[in-house]
């Protein structure tokens, strides 16, 4: 995720090599990547996926392949053209593609 989104390399447990920012501590990873890492490793909390851009969507789906993942999302993220299973917890409905997701969210005025 760090390589894909931040284009950076992990050079040690506390150090990241960023092509744009140089050597940085892990705290300065992008908000999107930090949120993804938390989603992956901390199942105790619900994280705000609005901190993640569209380029994080595929990783959210990937993490959700391993475990049920509950996120908070405040915008219509682009989850791509493939089918998926996303349950919209507010109304208990599962949607399977981007159109269904957009229509369900907007019809129910969820954002």
């Amino acid at each position: 995720m760090i390589k894909d989104i931040d284009k950076s390399d992990v050079i040690g447990p506390k150090s990241i090599d960023s092509p744009f920012l140089g050597s940085i501590p892990v705290e300065r990873l992008s908000g999107g990547v930090k949120t993804l890492i938390l989603m992956n490793n901390d199942s105790e909390h619900i994280f705000n996926a609005s901190a993640c851009g569209d380029n994080c969507a595929k990783w959210i789906l990937k993490i959700a392949e391993k475990k049920d993942l509950i996120i908070r999302l405040g915008y219509l993220m682009d989850f791509g053209k493939d089918e998926f299973d996303i349950e919209i917890v507010n109304i208990g409905k599962t949607v399977h593609n981007s159109l269904e997701l957009a229509e369900t969210v907007l019809d129910n005025h969820l954002i």
């Binding site: 989104i5 931040d6 219509l76 159109l99 957009a102």
Partner: protein, 321 residues
């Protein structure tokens, strides 16, 4: 505060260029595009000045507002450009919107979520863009730029012959558009209802006319819906209906009022340019035969000659022959 401000922020690694000209500017985009880094640089410069190794060039003071004592700090600020990151919990609070109204500051806000309490323009939603391959030089480009004022039009060859025209406005604006488009015209009755009207429509070609100056919080959802649904709907977003009337030259309007509105629309008095244009039109048409009221369109605006003038300044692709 009035004015248009160029902001240049850099250190030895990154270099940002940004221009703000309205009280509210929104920054969006992919993760890791540098939004938070921009705000970090401003915060660092604010704390340590030149010794931070950061240079900030702007005629106004740039500052960062965080969760800490935000109300107290904001109430004491004037004539500043205030940057707020998406981690600020107060962005969706009514109390924040109330403090933005009447504020003598400009706000640059990082947020992917729609901020429905703030009337920001579709023109002031920016995504970051690298100017050079090295990614050192970053600037912001409009997500919904001038071309997108008539969004989706590029997908439609030539002129659009709408089967349905949805207008955000249900009063004066609707009366006028009804004279242009006839029975095909339908009032949504507010920006929040535009999506519902598009969604329910089974027409092939739809034109939605909205007030661009305050439609920022809705444009993202509607454009996303149109992109995934493939519905043929064109969004035409002039600043506002009153802007169209002013631009149509029905009453005398100095060119600068429309071209350089940022020098006139004081953020202390007007929360959006839509409010400014409405106020300007009401004040300046008062003693003329074109006395304007938002609730009901003066009969003199309905004459064929005036309607023709309005049609002339609308994009020709959406005007039916």
């Amino acid at each position: 505060m009035v004015g248009k401000f160029d902001i240049e922020i850099y250190n030895n690694r990154v270099h940002y260029f940004l221009t703000v000209k309205r009280n509210i500017t929104i920054l969006q985009g992919d993760s890791a595009s540098g939004k938070t880094e921009l705000i970090r640089l401003i915060g660092e410069y604010e704390a340590n000045g030149n010794s931070s190794g950061i240079t900030v060039k702007c005629s106004q003071k740039c500052t960062v507002l965080t969760n800490v004592d935000w109300e107290l700090r904001l109430s004491s600020m004037t004539q500043r450009i205030i940057f707020i990151d998406e981690t600020a919990r107060f962005l969706k609070a009514r109390s924040f919107a109330e403090m933005v109204r009447g504020s003598d500051n400009y706000f640059v806000i990082v947020s992917r979520d729609a901020l429905v309490q703030l009337p920001y323009s579709i023109e002031e939603i920016y995504g970051i863009r690298n100017v050079s391959d090295s990614s050192k030089y970053k600037t912001y480009k409009k997500v919904y730029n001038e071309m997108y004022k008539i969004y989706n039009l590029t997908d439609i060859n030539g002129a659009l012959e709408p089967d349905l025209v949805i207008t955000e406005d249900s009063n004066s604006g609707f009366e006028c558009y009804k004279l242009i488009y006839g029975k095909k015209c339908e009032a949504a009755g507010g920006k929040g209802n535009v999506y519902d009207c598009i969604r329910k429509s089974d027409k092939n070609n739809t034109l939605a006319i909205v007030d661009g100056a305050a439609f920022g919080s809705d444009v993202g959802k509607i454009m996303r819906y149109l992109s995934v649904s493939g519905k043929k709907c064109v969004l035409y977003a002039p600043e506002s209906f009153e802007f169209l009337l002013l631009k149509a030259n029905i009453i005398d309007v100095p060119k600068a009022v429309l071209d350089e509105t940022y020098d006139y629309a004081d953020s202390k008095r007007f929360m959006s340019w839509e409010e400014y244009y409405t106020d300007y039109l009401i004040q300046n048409s008062q003693k003329t035969v074109f006395k304007y009221a938002k609730t009901k369109l003066n009969e003199n605006y309905k004459s064929p000659k005036i309607i023709e003038k309005i049609k002339r300044i609308m994009p020709e692709q959406i005007i039916m022959k």
